[in-house]
């Protein structure tokens, strides 16, 4: 009353940023991410040495690089996780525009690094894959649109986000990068699912996907060969998959020993797509199970925390981010154990890769921002005697 009467300077009573962050952040998930990054560096010590030797560099060149980029990624993650959801959304929408523009420009000024797919911008010291940054931004934008669409008189957010998803998938398909395209579609699907997609529609879509895969199997020889190779019980030991399987078997429960692994010398993608095989060979099943548990912790904990969330946008964005993060790791490891057909996808935070670790930092940072504990108005429920 004194201030009201005498008009003293208004002071907003808010908690300081850092203590509030520390109090509300999902510490388990953040720790899991840090541990994963540490494991990634540890494995990089083994897995990236052959690559460095091949390129005539210092043996631990890529480890140092990864430490620098990873440090940047972790810093980004922490930075993003401190932002309030509204700020995250604002930045993500701006970022989405930039990423979409650069994705559209790829065919003109991108490089393919001799891999046959134009996915990167090269800046000399580093290369950037715009689709990596596009994914989290797109998920957040979609969540916003879907949440807004739930309001009465809200915008037609589902149609808009679906149109954007189709645009992105088309842009990715011309690179071509079907893995990322599938991830984008999956992320959109998760957001729509959590936002309350009708069950009949989901069943119809699943049926259509089944029909389409049968059709693709019967018409495309390339596709059919991939599937046949996946389904055949024998694995050709001369393929990457064969080497990976062999490495996992060699490793057994406790591994062949640090630095003793052989698979990293045979696999061209030992430091990225098949790093789990290196882990399995050198450190055994123990470390692999640790890695799986860490990813499971992040994803499942985030989803469970989001169950309590009342804000539709935060819930949707968090669910989408957690799912694309988790599914990427799942695909990578599923390929290595031949549960899924071969598809190149990195293991977030563990695989080597400059821009991908920063993008992963943005994704998880945004996810952590969404899963922070905040008042959910339970007290209002008590007073209003509303049902949940």
């Amino acid at each position: 009353m004194t201030e009201m009467v005498y008009g003293s300077a208004p002071v907003r009573v808010t908690e300081p940023v850092l203590p509030k962050w520390w109090r509300t952040i999902d510490k388990w998930s953040m720790t899991a991410v840090l541990v994963l990054f540490g494991i990634g560096l540890l494995l990089g010590l083994a897995a990236s040495v052959p690559l460095a030797e091949r390129n005539g560099l210092d043996p631990f060149f890529y480890v140092q690089r990864q430490a620098i980029f990873g440090g940047l990624g972790i810093a980004t993650m922490i930075g993003v996780s401190m932002m309030p959801p509204g700020m995250v959304r604002r930045i993500a929408v701006l970022g989405f525009m930039g990423a979409l523009l650069s994705l559209a420009l790829l065919p003109f000024i991108g490089t393919d690094f001799g891999k046959g797919a134009v996915r990167w911008f090269s800046f000399g010291f580093a290369s950037v894959q715009p689709s990596e940054f596009l994914k989290p931004c797109f998920i957040i934008l979609t969540a916003w649109l879907m949440a807004a669409a739930q309001d009465l008189n809200g915008p037609p957010g589902r149609m808009i986000s679906f149109g954007l998803a189709v645009t992105i998938v088309l842009l990715l398909a011309i690179q071509p990068d079907f893995g990322q395209a599938a991830l984008v579609l999956f992320g959109w699907g998760v957001v729509y699912f959590v936002a309350g997609a009708p069950m009949t529609l989901i069943l119809v879509i699943l049926g259509l996907v089944g029909v389409a895969s049968v059709f693709a199997y019967n018409t495309s020889e390339h596709f059919a060969r991939r599937i046949d190779g996946f389904l055949s019980p024998e694995v050709d030991p001369r393929t990457q998959l064969g080497y990976a399987t062999n490495a996992i078997q060699e490793g057994g429960f406790f591994g062949v020993g640090v630095g003793e692994g052989q698979v990293k010398w045979s696999l061209p993608d030992a430091h990225t797509d098949f790093i789990i095989a290196v882990a399995a060979e050198e450190y055994g099943l123990v470390l692999v199970l640790c890695i799986i548990a860490l990813y499971a912790t992040i994803v499942v904990r985030s989803l469970l925390r989001l169950m309590r969330e009342r804000d539709p946008f935060i819930r949707l964005a968090g669910a989408g981010l957690a799912c694309i993060f988790g599914v990427q790791a799942m695909i990578n490891m599923g390929v290595a154990v031949r549960l899924l057909p071969a598809k190149g996808m990195t293991l977030p935070f563990v695989s080597y890769g400059g821009s991908s670790v920063i993008a992963a930092g943005i994704t998880v940072g945004a996810l952590l921002a969404m899963t922070r504990s905040r008042p959910q108005g339970e007290i209002g429920d008590i007073f209003a005697r509303r049902g949940r």
Binding site: F193, L289, I292, R310, C323, G334
Partner: protein, 595 residues
Amino acid sequence: MIRTPLRPLARILSARAKGENPDAIERENLRLRHEAMRDKARTRAELRLLLLGLAFFMAYGVIGARMGLLAASEPMEPRAAASGAQILSQRADIADRNGRILATNMLTHSLYAHPRDMVDPARVARELAAIFPDMDAAALERRFTDGRSFMWIRKVLSPEQMQKVHEIGDPGLLFGPREMRVYPNGDLAAHVLGGASFGAEGVHSAEVIGTAGIEKALDARLRDPAQAGEPLMLSIDMTIQAAVEEILGAGMQMMNAKGAAAILMDSRTGEILSLASLPDFDPNDRPNPLVKGDPGDSPLFNRAVQGVYELGSTFKIFATAQAMELGLVNADTMVDANAPMQWGKHRIKEFQNKNYGPLLSVTDVIVKSSNVGTARLALQIGGLRQQAFLKSLGFFDPTPLELVEAPGAKPLLPPKWPEIVTITTSYGHGMSASPMHLAAAYATIANGGIAVKPTLLKRDTPAEGVRVLSEPVARASVDMLRQVVTRGTASMAEVEGYAVAGKTGTADKPKRTGGYYKDKVINTFAAMFPADDPRYVLIVTLDEPVNTMGTEPRRTAGWTAVPVAAEIIRRSAPLLGLRPVIELGPPDGITAVRN
């Protein structure tokens, strides 16, 4: 669905009445409805988030379990996936009529490389070149280092070579098992067997497919998994085949011929006991076909089946046999044989312009091989009946022999059949057929008049065929052929202990450009034995022979093909189980002794 209006009308009206702003009421209403919707959506979303969480948990669990299973399993020796269908490599053996192996399979290995796994490509290339002299170390090393991940080095290895490659000890050199076709008798019956090579090839096995001969003609039977255990029994008798090939080779050399063929056939069943064509080859190492020149000169060419030649005077017996069959003549009828015979603008002459006329008995037409006498008989028969008879003997179609080459060997027939063709065909000129055709036709005469189909497969029962000649006519024809040997052109065919009947044939070789060579002939001797009840037919054909043993070069069949055939009969008749007829001398006189 009934739309609930956003503005609750009753409250707004009463608010208006009180002078309050109804917008606040609308906003309040909207907020309440949003809250209700969100509560509903949240309940649904909670369930779905839980589902997602469970799905992820299970997926990670499955991956972990799978990792555990993999880690718990022993790493297997790297063995490549058997992609696609397994190649069936079991091929039936081929055996002769007594079950002796002519073709079988042997397990061996192929050699391939994974150059990326090679420790020292330069050393491997050098040592491989030392093991296989036909390989070039520099070229091998270039191929090992050009970035390929797989290459074949050798399709088959001998055990010694395999051991030496083992001793190189490079992990980039790998062996694949191979079932390989082996012909243990080398070039024996090469043209019958033909050969085999690899079809579809994988690292683990390769398909063996026939490339020629009976291997190709009966490829499906040989590869039939249902009959894999049973060898294919041929009619060929290995012992006789070896004897025939040996004698034919020696005869060919002695008679300076560039090629030779022999067929020994059982006239009752049509089984070919021996089929030889020289020069021959080793089916284990089949030579490449000639790229230029006459394919008929290639060792791969089967003269007995593929070679169609004008078979000359051997055809005359068909004219006399048909004339007798038609009742126009009998063996002793005298026919006009006055040479030369003028027919239109053609002049039919005898060998060396002789004249056997004015009249010859039908038997003597055969014995002396009179062109004019045969021509007169053929004119009596007429072209249409002649064609029908030759067709019934099988001269108008390829032989049904089980060789892939047989269907391609069509007899060369004159396009039209005027009387002059009737005349020339009667003594074997103007139309060409293979020795196999001739063997089948002579078998008809030998077996008493039944047409036979030649076959290379063992038969147990006599083939049932159409009767073409009556038995007495066939018998009379055999008697005539016997007299050709006893007092005619084939006197060298007298084999002690075995009565041989037969007919010689000497045909000038046609030039490719038209016309005939003066000094290049095809000599044929068509024989059957034993003459009193002929069972076996032997055809011997020599290509461009010349007998230089006498004072002048002789090119008639009587001097070339006949002695070779006689030698073959001398050797093979006992092998066939025929008893020689031993002519006993006068019995010792009995002297009564009284003492």
